[in-house]
């Protein structure tokens, strides 16, 4: 009701101001005619230039602030980006595939925004990737109105890095649209031809995960595969310690060394276990550690191993997959493994 009591004069100036802002926003949107006039961009040159000006050491140092133990993988990634080869990063859930792709793109910063990201899913249509013309707007305001054409990620990614998250979930139809853009450097929308040069960093889970399409051969041929595996024990330990402590920073608590040791041993045990097909993700382990600590913090006491046990199971039970007939069996197995890990860690810690 308060809004309506304003004088008419006031409300007029307000609407005018709002109109001005929206006009400005509209001007920032790309028009179809601008898109059609696009010039080719050599993205690989931009990237090579960025690597040269930043220097490899600086890039790796910056990456180290976000991710650890992936320096070699990052170099593999950079080398192929610099020659214009598209990359597919493959690895289990939660080892930092997407984060790696995003961070590298951010550090290189060849454009603004530095990258376009698409979370692929199986019901994605080709038009969701390419974009389309809104005929209701086009009929009333003309084809060249900024709102008449809604560009999709393939069009927006011109001169940028395109991150396709979980590309293995892309169905064959959208794969075909992507392939066409990669091979011809043009995107076709209702007969309009829009130039689009970009480099793809795709991420993918290995084939044992469910809901996965095969990549078409022509598409796969254009990609290089970089695999990220579980880090080795020492690296894993330092990652867990560092990440979980950074999560707990604002609570003012710290994870005890012993707990990190236990979780590290636990993950190593599970990864090597024959009964388990898909091991726990590092992300879930980090949160399990932080979770146990924060639980204790809420109750105002010291964290115990029992807290850790409970939060580990809570956090990991959904990501671990294996030969179990029921959820309960899986839980029991995980608990049994935890006790084993605890024993081993105790021995190690004493030394």
């Amino acid at each position: 009701m308060v809004g309506f009591r304003k004088t008419s004069d006031q409300s007029r100036t307000q609407t005018q101001a709002r109109d001005n802002i929206s006009d400005k926003l509209l001007e920032n949107l790309p028009r179809l005619s601008d898109l059609l006039r696009r010039e080719p961009i050599q993205v690989e040159k931009l990237i090579a230039e960025a690597i040269r000006t930043k220097g490899i050491k600086n890039i790796l140092a910056e990456l180290d602030k976000v991710l650890r133990g992936l320096g070699d993988v990052a170099l593999d990634l950079l080398s192929s980006l610099a020659i214009g080869r598209h990359v597919l990063i493959m690895g289990p859930v939660g080892v930092g595939k997407t984060t790696l792709a995003e961070t590298i793109a951010e550090i290189l910063a060849i454009s603004d925004p530095p990258y376009i990201e698409v979370a692929c899913h199986s019901h994605m249509t080709a038009t969701e990737l390419t974009g389309d013309i809104d005929i209701a707007v086009a009929l009333q305001a003309g084809l060249d109105h900024p709102l008449a054409f809604i560009p999709g990620p393939l069009v927006m990614a011109h001169g940028k890095i395109l991150i396709l998250d979980e590309i293995n979930r892309l169905n064959p139809y959208s794969q075909a649209a992507l392939l066409q853009a990669l091979q011809e450097h043009y995107v076709f929308i209702r007969g309009f031809r829009i130039r689009s040069d970009f480099i793809v960093i795709a991420t993918s889970n290995p084939a044992e995960y469910s809901g996965v399409y095969e990549l078409s051969e022509a598409l796969a041929d254009r990609m290089k595969v970089i695999e990220i595996n579980y880090p080795d024990r020492e690296v894993l330990r330092s990652i867990l310690e560092w990440k979980s402590n950074s999560l707990l920073e604002h609570l003012g608590t710290k994870v005890p060394d012993f707990m990190v040791e236990v979780v590290t041993t636990y993950i190593m045990l599970l990864v090597q276990d024959a009964n388990i097909e898909v091991g726990p993700s590092i992300r879930s382990a980090i949160y399990a550690l932080a979770n146990a600590m924060s639980r204790a913090w809420i109750e105002g006491r010291e964290a115990s191993i029992n807290d850790l046990k409970v939060s580990l199971i809570e956090n990991m039970v959904s990501t671990v997959r294996g030969n179990f007939s029921s959820e309960q069996e899986k839980k029991d197995y995980l608990l049994k493994k935890f006790d084993e890990a605890l024993l081993i860690a105790k021995k190690m810690y004493r030394k």
Binding site: S79, Q175, E184, K224, V225
Partner: protein, 556 residues
Amino acid sequence: MMLNEANRLDPISLISDILKLVYEYLQTDTRVIRPGSIRSYEAAVADIFFRLLLEGGEVDEEKFREIVTRVGIQNLLLSVETQSPEEKRLVLEEAFEYALNRAMKRIEQKIKEGLGEPENGEKRKGEKKRGAPGAEGEEREGEQRGQGQGQGSARRRGKGSSLKEGSEMSDLTSDELVDFAGSKMLQELSKQGSYQYSRRSASAQMTGEIIEREVEEVAENDEVEQMISTIYEAFYGGIGAANFMNLAQLINMFVKYDANIIKKVQVLKKLEKYLRSYGFASSTYTKVSSQERRIFEEFRRKTKGQSSDMSQIKIMKFVGSDRYPTYVVNMREYKFGDSYSNIDMYKTAINISRKSLMGKMITTKDIIVKEYANVKSIDLVLCLDVSGSMRELSWGTQKIDIAKDAVSKYVQFLMTTNDRLSLILFNFRADVLWTLHQVKRYWKYMLYMLSYVYAGGGTNLAHALERAREVLSKSRSTAKHVVCVTDGRTVNAQLCIREVTRLRRQGATISTIAIGENSDDDLLMKLSRIGGGLFIKIINIHDLSRALIIDKLHFL
């Protein structure tokens, strides 16, 4: 230390040597089905080189080995195919180990030989002085790899200049190298193409010998004798003559035309040797010069970027709203990605006029779209022209070879769908090379049969359409589509139109792809108008694969 010297001398050629050895190894290994594409090998060379640069500073032998193996496998992994996917990585690792060991031995030898020769720096100067690349490069090439067989001049040229570049590189610091590599990368890439050539000719030689031996062995067999005489009659009727048989007719002399593709492949395997000995199979029929030019063409396109020749494709649509033989499931408001032809004009017009009378804005809610039943798979029949005109050269390669490439790309493209494909070859008469088979399951056989297609004879499109109708009459799918690819004028144009009308009545749609200036565009356009498909005109046959895919995408 030894390695460093060699590495500095010529990093790119060292890496490409290693990859060449990898390719050789993969070719001979029985577990490997496909040893990988040119593109992935090119990318691997450039990638490994750049990765070594990124490492900066000195790379010792162990590190070098590790990087080459890892980055190489990363690049080749999706392109190489082995019998079981689990052992792919293993096979690749073995291949790289083999290649690295071989390459290292060669370098050691080279360095031992090099000790007697003048100092490195002088050699470098000598190379820079020489104006035309080649002379010394060739010499050194000669000593370096006496055992290499079938090296053409293209290869040597590539080698010579990359040697030169390699020596230039050693003058620069690693920081400058990155810059250097960035600008030269494209040129480097183009040089690697020459390797493919030498591999091919080597393998061709090998298979040639094997076949000669086999032909001698089997020649006594009676049944075989009969085959030979049949083929002899077929081929030596003359290439332009009416009784020149195409591959499909030849195979169908031994099996029924609608036999399973596996049976046909078995027949083709028996015929294979004789096809070769009459010069109709490609592997012994490669001309050095044409191969070379083909590679050139590939790289010309690569360096230029494929974008510029898009204008050569002309597409005409004759698709009505009834293009899918299907039924309306429901009506809903317009969403992005809907085809304009699916809009229900009547309801939309009412909505729009109502809104405009009320003075309101039109939104997507006012546009009503008919939703059709989802057509899951299409039965495709491809009619390919194999008349004598397809033997003409285009950029130094026979048109038929390019067309075969295009069709194999098409098959690979269809592999991701549930579609069924049948291929009909036609010259003066038409016959079914294989009847409708699911591409996903039978693509290997299809690609195999495709590689033996040869050209000769007249052009009779009407007969091909009749055959297509026969094939499609057995299909129960709701979506049928015929694609005709031809580059010339057909006899019996009236009959063509009648056949297309019949096909249309059966519920099939017909697209036509015309190649070159020679084609009868009026007729083909008419056919696709009646058939309710696309008419695609391409001047250059190299665009054929793209045209096929455009046609298919249109029907998605």
